[in-house]
């Protein structure tokens, strides 16, 4: 289920500013209170996909460590995409909420 919403999660993580893959996965972990503990490598296909869809742009920079590092930035067109994914998520979340409503077990007295 989480994988189906990975693109939205990545876009949301990059909303704070440009970042490289490792920083993106760290931001996802931190913001989700470590609830989303994905294999770190799964972030890269999502980043590449979003770049192809022109929702992200990327460039190489030289990190302090001296290594080459790829930095990703949100593009202008991401607003609509993020809003669309947000709406899909809310619809899904509301539907699950409605299904679960009233199913919570009452604690025995």
């Amino acid at each position: 289920m989480l994988k189906g919403h990975l693109d939205m999660i990545v876009l949301a993580a990059l909303a704070a500013g440009p970042a490289h893959g490792y920083a993106v996965i760290e931001a996802i972990r931190r913001k989700s209170g470590r609830a989303f503990d994905l294999p770190e490598g799964t972030i890269y296909p999502a980043l590449h996909r979003l770049e192809q869809a022109r929702l992200l742009a990327s460039r190489w920079v030289n990190a302090e460590s001296g290594r080459k590092r790829r930095i990703y930035t949100l593009t202008r067109s991401r607003h609509r995409a993020l809003a669309e994914r947000h709406a899909v998520w809310e619809q899904f979340s509301d539907a699950i909420g409605a299904l679960l409503e009233g199913t919570r077990c009452k604690k025995p007295a």
């Binding site: 994988k3 490289h20 893959g21 490792y22 294999p39 770190e40 490598g41 799964t42 890269y44 296909p45 590449h48 996909r49 192809q52 869809a53 990190a63 460590s65 290594r67 080459k68 590092r69 790829r70």
Partner: protein
Amino acid sequence: MQETGMISAYAELLAAKLGFDRSLSQRVREEVEDHLREAAEANAGCDAREAERRAIVEFGDAHAIAAELAAASLAQETRKAGLAVILIIVGVFMAMKARIAWYAATQWALNDDVKEISAIVGSIDVYAFWVAVIVGIAGWAYISSRPIPTAFDPFRQQLRRFRLLSLAATAALVISVIGDGVLTALRLLGTDFSAGFLIPLFSMALEIGCAGFLISHIRGVVLRAACAGAQLKT
């Protein structure tokens, strides 16, 4: 932190699985290596070997990641190829129309003895061209209407369908260009060479160039897809 070579080996393995696309392979190798080194540095409490091992385990299965990256890369390639088919067909159409306009402007009529064969070749040419247009548009619409795939195996079927449509469109276009070549030759034969030949010859060269470029482009995409399929099988 002292390097043990595990990270380099993992990055090389991932890059090798993406060998069908050299620039993607190189980019992924450098990007993944930087990620893993940073992750290993974050595990500073362990010895170097354990820190690298943990970073690799947390990164995930190289084969699964490569398959996802390959699907995204090939999806982009096929979209470009779908658009290339349409643009090449438009190019061939314009060259064809320019030649016909030139014949009309110069009142360059066909010899009576080749009119019959010209009519037959002309019909084949027209039908082949429209088949190329319809199948080309179908291929482009099909591939560009699919979402960018998140896995390689379900994408194989999309690739197969697109390959079939683009090969059919290319074959029909080649038949049409051959037809144009025959028609041009019939019109030029038996006429004394003059500067007026240059327009039909140039437009034919343009058509042949367009068809050649398309064959080479589609062949490249088909070979890369086959290579990716083979590299991701193991």
